[in-house]
Symmetry: C2
Subunit: 483 residues, 2 copies
């Protein structure tokens, strides 16, 4: 078998190290000259981090090992109120870091309006807005209740949720069932059709899936994700394969446990929505990453999440604290009639996929996503190669065929993000910025720098405290804390 680059090429690569990796992978001799500017952090923080690098790396190895050894399993479904820790009837969970009603973006407000109508707490959009602003309704991040929600990510008390258990560590995560595309609650739509669909999901889809999962006891989400990566999904913006595999796992059980009409309508619904698996890939990521929280000194990112206003980051070594900055607007392919002017800034907990080494980090497995924003297959390859620069490990279970089945880049290290200036690459859906409209496109973006700089500096402070030196310092960004 002859190979493409048996010819002796020599390259001096000035720029991203990942390009040299590609050359290495093709047996091309290459020399690396770096040029990428690091993010600007306080010199004190940088000096602490340099000094404590060994402890940090030990901590990171432990954190990453917990992420990689997680075994996320779908074990059941339940009503949010009965299932999600500390859920309440007047509590709405939302995507991203904490945010109050008056700072919420249009699609999140739209989804809240819809959820209040769905719950019967408001009779119309105007009443719902008043109620939401009144103080009677509480808001909290999904992430702070072991849950994740795509886009607006609203979870209310009556909504059915998937229960995903990390069989290795015993922790659980929760996510709603995916509604489909277009005019749906998570994109901020709330018309009658949206509410009727949510009611059908509660009345027909939920009991059918609950009984089907009960019959098989658990469905191995890690196995489905691993296969889906071999089938063109990155399980964030593309879930066709994972949905198909889940469908094959569920269908015979749905047939055995539900009446014919219910079974057929459930199969039609899931079969008609290539994104049905998305919420499960998010819950799998959440269950796996939560097991790596709270490891002292670790600079590994355990959550990236956006509420449509702020982009938030959490680290293993800095507890429940959120580090935030303004959410950017994605580059996107817009649906006919819409432009970037219509687009809301980046929104949703779905960046948990990237935090887990999937989505934009695994986009080499899914070049179709890059193609629809005008890129080529090699761009998809390069995005993934770049992400190896800022991650601490390669996933043993999740592989990328076009990179000779190399493991996906997993475990974002905020220190290498700062030092290389390479920001996490995310793919995402795009919501209209006004409430009530819905999805307007799908696209890609790089995470903003600010949350990573803040997280880095806070970690340095924590490391100092942990190791008996003291001081506080800042690049000038203010941090936001809820824990």
């Amino acid at each position: 078998m002859t190979h493409l680059f048996d010819q002796e090429l020599k390259v001096i690569n000035i720029g991203l190290r990942s390009f040299k990796d590609t050359l290495d992978a093709r047996n091309v001799k290459a020399v690396q000259v770096d040029w990428m500017p690091p993010l600007s952090v306080s010199p004190q923080a940088a000096s602490i981090i340099a000094e404590k690098r060994e402890q940090i790396e030990d901590a990171n190895r432990a954190a990453v090992e917990r992420i990689l050894s997680g075994k996320p399993m779908l074990v059941g479904l339940g009503k949010a109120l009965d299932t999600i820790p500390r859920m309440k009837e007047n509590l709405l969970l939302h995507a991203g870091p904490p945010i109050e009603w008056k700072r919420m973006c249009g699609p999140m407000r739209g989804a809240i309006i819809g959820a209040l109508i769905y719950e019967g707490l408001a009779g119309n959009p105007e009443d719902a807005e008043r109620l939401a602003a009144s103080g009677e309704i509480e808001f909290a991040p999904c992430h702070e209740h072991n849950a994740v929600g795509p886009m607006a990510g609203i979870i209310s008390a009556s909504m059915p949720v998937f229960i995903v258990k990390n069989d290795e560590f015993g922790n659980a995560s929760y996510a709603t069932m995916n509604e489909g595309l277009g005019k749906v609650l998570r994109y901020g739509a709330f018309n009658d059709e949206v509410i009727a669909r949510l009611k059908w999901m509660e009345r027909v889809l939920y009991p059918a899936l609950r009984k089907a999962v009960e019959r098989v006891e658990r469905i191995d989400l890690k196995a489905i994700i691993a296969q889906a990566l071999h089938m063109g999904d990155e399980v964030h913006n593309r879930n066709r394969a994972a949905t198909s595999l889940l469908y094959r796992a569920l269908a015979p059980q749905v047939v055995r446990t539900s009446e014919r009409d219910a079974a057929a309508s459930v199969l039609d619904f899931i079969g008609g929505n290539d994104h049905f698996f998305l919420n499960l890939s998010m819950a799998a990521a959440k269950a796996s990453l939560d097991a790596a929280r709270g490891i002292a000194n670790s600079s590994i990112v355990v959550a990236m999440a956006r509420n449509g206003t702020d982009f938030g980051v959490q680290l293993s070594g800095t507890g429940g604290q959120w580090f935030t900055g303004p959410a950017p607007v994605p580059d996107a392919l817009f649906f006919p009639g819409f432009t970037k002017d219509d687009a809301n800034p980046d929104i949703g907990d779905s960046a948990i996929a990237e935090t887990y080494g999937l989505g934009g980090f695994a986009i080499a497995a899914s070049p179709a996503i890059v193609q629809f924003v005008g890129g080529q297959a090699r761009d998809a390859l390069n995005y993934t190669l770049q992400m190896y620069e800022i991650t601490a490990a390669e996933n043993r279970a999740y592989q990328i065929p076009s990179l000779d089945f190399r493991g996906t880049p997993t475990g974002i290290d905020v220190i290498t993000v700062v030092e290389t200036g390479i920001l996490p690459f995310i793919d995402t859906g795009v919501a209209h910025k006004k409430p009530g409209i819905g999805q307007v496109g799908a696209g890609v973006l790089s995470a903003p720098a600010e949350p990573f700089v803040k997280a880095y500096e806070r970690l340095a402070e924590k490391v100092v405290k942990q190791n008996g030196r003291c001081g506080q310092f800042s690049s000038g960004f203010e941090t936001q804390s809820t824990a």
Copy 2:
């Protein structure tokens, strides 16, 4: 967006042109120096072909346009006897070019034994062998009855078959339902378990699928194949995605038209066999290629098929004549306990996939297949790039993501095969050479040269007759004809 090869590399490529294509695709300046030895053909034939090249290329454009514009649809199922043209109770159809009982390989004999027991024409293997050798049973290629069969490819009168219609040209093709892997009839196994499964398929699977397809009227196989190529299948040795998509299309209809127990067992069966789509991808290829038969002067290959003894080729411009040579043994990954010594030579009509630009020709879409025989992702890429050298077109519907969604190489031109010396690349299952054992592995191979040389020379003769020059000439190979 920066690209991998923005650096100005320059390459002199001595060898396969396809490697230069890869460099071109990556914007690397390269100069091509060819060296591949052409196949040895008679000088008279070569001179005729050179002289008539323009007529041949006109004919090829017409042939290829018919292949590309085909619309293969699954439109129903029926019993072979009632459905396949000129089917008879004492007729067994088999894979590959024509062959008599005494020259048949072990797995084909095994499958015939099984089919005779299944039909109730023999009570045990010994009786079946006697009957098969007696002359009372007739044998004919599937291909000569508009059908295709994987591996041994045996179709007997009672077997249910898929009916695939080419909506563009009105012709139909037929194939059995896939039995699964391991001990199955098509790999030459014939024990009680094999016969019981075939009976269940006739009694339960067949009516369920017939009713399900009836309800939706037609299932677009071209659309499924196009999507599956974006999902890691090449729909010959890997059919997981296509099977999943077919499953999603069928399941709700099976639920609506069959009793619960039957529906559940049918879904379990299809869901448990990632190769279920294979026979349909073959029938889709057959229906599309048959529409390109009989175009005077065309050097396009319309069938490659193996009976486990001979490898046969048919051209559009040479009618029903088969050009044959000994079938080679594939390079394979063998199941534990088996080696190449156990392997039967290449067998089955499934090379219709490659004839249609799928399978080995689309293997860049499915690097997992190359990996299991020790290759790397770039080898898969290179195999596909090579196939562009010997094909007349790129498929508009079937694309390869890792080649920036380039169309699959489609329409093998026997003239460029001879001139470049590049032989069609095929992936395949491997049967044990003895009857009764079954599958022992899966692998890849290049087609043998002999059938292509014979086809080239016969085409030259036909072109001469068509255009009023006369003569007969030969490279020394003898041709075999049944039409």
